[in-house]
Symmetry: D2
Subunit: 371 residues, 4 copies
């Protein structure tokens, strides 16, 4: 029962259906003293808005976030932060046509079997709109991480099997998407997320490995069908001697040079040692813990399941029918899902950082000095 809460320490609980009164999120466990306002959330919401280009849907959605609690005089207070987004067009449509149909590639049949009936209005709880709440929560996590100097960035790296990290790739993909759209069909894609300036040793060594929790976080986004860390699938085809990331002791400059001479040769005696991996096949995570390298996680999205092209399926009455799903649907979800991946990763990273705070006796003594 349940499963609408993610995180163990920075916990988001989301709610809402695509055509109910509102969607929202309650964040429990956000540290007190973080400057926060709706302005911090809005840019993230904008990134998942439809209608940004020819490849995404043209719908207009306001999606104004309202903060209901947990912020006072511009700062988080330590109490739960609740945010809601009203559904403005909730009564505008007739859903009777899809009410009792099991759309191919959708959750309809699952809901019907699980609960005995379902909220059939526009995808209900499994609508893409559900991710609004994740993004609102993730925006807060991003704000906390930014205060710690940690960055989380996701980008679309592949559309319809085409690498879009180059200009040529982007053009080819754009053409392909328009062509597919014309055919009333859809395509999938890949989002890659990068975490930088991550402290080391974060993540718990067994079931709550950092990569394991990132996998749940990312796979829980609708339409994701595979998750990779670092080299991922490729690692399974390589050799140990190629895949292993070795460590190197490096001499870092002293933070506070004692004198001007020090500046000339920072490594001489003011330097201290640190360790770096000399390659990054592991994607920044070894044994479930961050190793100081850039964390790289890849999410593979299936094509948008809602297509106008006629498909065979069945309805609740047991009739086998042919279905053509009308409406403005993105021919690919990745461009809007991008920010969702980023937000889920940010939440997971922050959660792991909080979990790690009790890992050592010296941390406890730092926070609770015995005076």
């Amino acid at each position: 029962m349940a499963g609408n809460t993610f995180g163990k320490f920075f916990k988001i609980t989301t709610f809402g259906e695509s055509h109910g009164p509102a969607l929202g999120v309650v964040i429990d466990g956000c540290p007190a003293g973080l400057p926060l306002s709706v302005e911090d959330i809005r840019p993230y919401m904008e990134r998942r808005r439809p209608g940004q280009n020819a490849r995404t849907t043209a719908r207009k959605e306001a999606d104004e976030v309202e903060i209901l609690s947990g912020v006072f005089e511009g700062k988080t207070t330590g109490t739960p932060i609740a945010m809601i987004v009203r559904n403005t067009d909730q009564h505008s449509k007739d859903y009777s046509e899809l009410a009792h149909v099991f759309r191919p590639g959708h959750a309809d049949y699952g809901f019907y079997q699980k609960y005995g009936f379902r909220d059939y209005r526009g995808g209900g709880r499994s609508s893409g709109r559900e991710t609004l709440a994740r993004v609102a929560g993730g925006a807060v996590a991003q704000k906390v991480l930014s205060e710690l100097g940690i960055t989380v960035d996701a980008e679309v790296t592949e559309i319809a099997g085409i690498d879009v990290t180059t200009e040529a790739g982007r053009e080819a993909a754009e053409e392909k998407v328009l062509e597919v759209k014309e055919e009333q069909d859809s395509v999938g894609g890949v989002v890659t997320c990068f975490v930088n300036n991550m402290p080391t040793g974060i993540g718990e060594p067994v079931f709550d490995k950092l990569d394991a929790r990132l996998s749940q976080a990312v796979m829980s986004i609708g339409a994701v069908k595979a998750v990779e860390i670092g080299d991922g699938v490729k690692a399974s085809k390589s050799r140990g001697s190629e895949d292993n990331d070795g460590f190197e002791a490096v001499l870092l400059p002293d933070e506070e040079p004692d004198s001007a001479e020090d500046d000339e040769d920072p490594y001489q005696d003011g330097g201290y040692e640190a360790f770096e991996v000399t390659s990054n096949h592991a994607g920044g995570i070894l044994g479930g813990m961050s190793d100081g390298a850039e964390i790289v996680i890849r999410a593979y999205f299936k094509p948008t399941p809602s297509i106008a092209k006629p498909q065979k399926t069945a309805n609740e009455n047991g009739d086998n029918i042919t279905l053509s799903i009308k409406g403005r649907h993105d021919p690919t979800v990745v461009e809007r899902a991008n920010v969702v991946v980023e937000c889920m990763v940010a939440i997971t990273i922050l959660d792991a950082l909080l979990e790690n705070m009790g890992a050592r006796m010296d941390y406890l003594k730092e926070i609770y000095p015995n005076e």
Copy 2:
């Protein structure tokens, strides 16, 4: 803060280092009344034993499981089931050589950074032996599932990039592995797990999607770097019209035919309708819930990181060194990790089934009839 418990309803908590006194598992939430003895656990333990063929290590490990609690007169009592396996050769070796080295591709550096020091004996908590406890827990989950008619089976499907589901493939892979072993190197591989006879609608629609939890379960196994559900990566390159699984209403024969005539034409009036997907690109899970098709999950393992081939790395003192890891290490982990994947999947499936028991008012009324 932890992370040594997996599952929310059928919960396993594991403990133990490879060279401490013992490893073990506590299962909390196993339903009462399940026939259970050490005989149910042993076959699973055997499957992860080394020394089974030329490709796995020749070490002898007894790995006898002892049940400490939760079973009475051959049946589970509903109280926690604790099981331990003693480490018999815990003092037999000198680990001083590896004590302060950061082995490439291992968790050593992570532990050192996380806790400030580490149990350096043979991998400690990140040793492959840790999976013993998962397997003991998974064997119990398998027993419960078998009573419900649900099967979970994992098999090695790829080694060193070679498809081993055919006899030719297996031979080619065996040759390749021996060659790699000769070179003191290692290779990766793929394990695929199948779940059959699964009830529909199992899994929670948002963060605790069945595939999301399976991803955490499988990615939490050491050396796994990618997880796929159904078509996985391939789905990201296909079209909606290809990838979508349609539903079909099918007429099943009546369970209890009223008369002999019925038998001749079972579908006539005694039949009832059911739904089946007409393809299975989704791997048995749509919208995070089981759709009745076979669940297919794939785990991609990196090559065994412990290799004798010399590698460059560093030690805690800040020395950059060249390391050759001695000892009997499997040139590939997949053949022994196979059963671990199966066990983690079984635990996750059972956990989701238990979670789903409170999903509907009619289930509550069935268990708690108001008389």
Copy 3:
């Protein structure tokens, strides 16, 4: 971090400050198919409204609940049920006087120490208004329980040390409260809660004993300082031979009499055996599990800490001051806290019932028949 979620299966997450935009609750884990509307919530909200009699405050609060999600066509869908109550008078007051004062008997100092600063408007998260969200959640739990035939009822049994279960007692207490109000002081009281028609064996035998979880539930209500189950404190002063509740095998009439004759002597051969306790010192819970008797739990409330009578205390600046708290405060909280106790007990009882659904293999087989 956190602590704003209660329950493990029927989970309520609450949010909101007394003078922020809104308070609310998200219920995750409510079974699907429960008829539910705002009409089911309203009577519970009414019971905690102020201004009901001379002994409670005269403030007017609308406290209209809005359901934001999880209900479709009059029934719960299995997805999270979010409900909010707007704070209508949030900007109406000047709190500067109390902004930096540590009110005696309040949470002010704790918040200040915990988070470094606090939302000082009217008690913030520790205001009595916080219980609104608990009551909204509890009303839903009550609805589920009523469908299972289980009743949970709380009543005020003592005010200012006077037993108010008799008419004479109520009159004496009313007089006492008015007298105390006159003196700008306040009094405490006791709420007793009764659960009837409870299935047996509910509650988990060790840490999650039914009485242990009820204790947390009730002690988490502001101003409660002691919790008793059954005879409670008195049991500690009695003897085993007096306190032990024995069992008796009783013959119940057959449910479906075979014939008219059966009705004349229902016990004859159609009867079946059941067990009943012959006394109820334990308050319906033995070894942490329900024993079939009426569950009795008592909550002891301290006097309302906000009093106009001058008190010595300090402020954040380190000034020792004399404080007189103005405003309309109830001279005793029990009359409005009554429904809060009932709601917290209902949530706990339902949670335990859901947890128990996976306790036995035969329950699993009932819900998941292997056909």
Copy 4:
């Protein structure tokens, strides 16, 4: 299902029946770097041993704890600490007489109803021996707390209704207990637990109030029927003006006097302000958070339910019988339960301290400085 884990951050999972092979505990979340050996556990185990005086049973139990994991070179490693105690006399007795009887005041009937059958050997999971595992876990929590300068001490304050905090009281109680023992009966008592040098602001303001969690912790100990914080029941009978604890700003001496002059008048300009409550009716907890005063919690135990005095009850066959429970049973449990209360309180306090570590942005920045 479940309920054998306590704590959210410092988590203990216990297992074992009184007459199975062993009892034990797995601690997950113990900070790394704590010096720990069996010697730290033993004194706590000794305190709950029987046979310490005339009032407790004469049984001999070795109860030697073995640490199976999580400790390396005398320090905790951050991984789970598993400890077991073997049951040495597990096969020594014939339990057939009690096998199908519902002992008055025991969990027998609950187990029978919950699971359909039960491990009837000596109380099974509900035996007093279950607390061995709590004590082993609590001893570790005590060690952590002692490193932070926090003390947790429990003592028996009442036996058979007699205050035993005075010498006269102790003598009267001893006499009473011997008298009751003679009559084959038993008595209850009270254990009071004190926490000192507690940091302020610990505990979460809503459902996880420090007192709420302490209540669950203490009420989960077998035979506890009431829990009080501070004045407890008495507070419900007093007035706000009496019960409220005011704050006082006090000037503390400067920690590092700048000069010798400072020493002569430590308060002059080197002093800093702190706050103290001027009374402690609240028992050190206000609004669910510690207020700096001594935390006082009281546990009321019912009389030992196992008595030789004949009692009426029933058995599983539906026979109404008269039962006399043979064997060596303590006439009162409080003297051995004392350390159990202390241990459960210590675990709860430590858990709350760990939870609080993520409460503030400045704590995060302290642990994760952005360099």
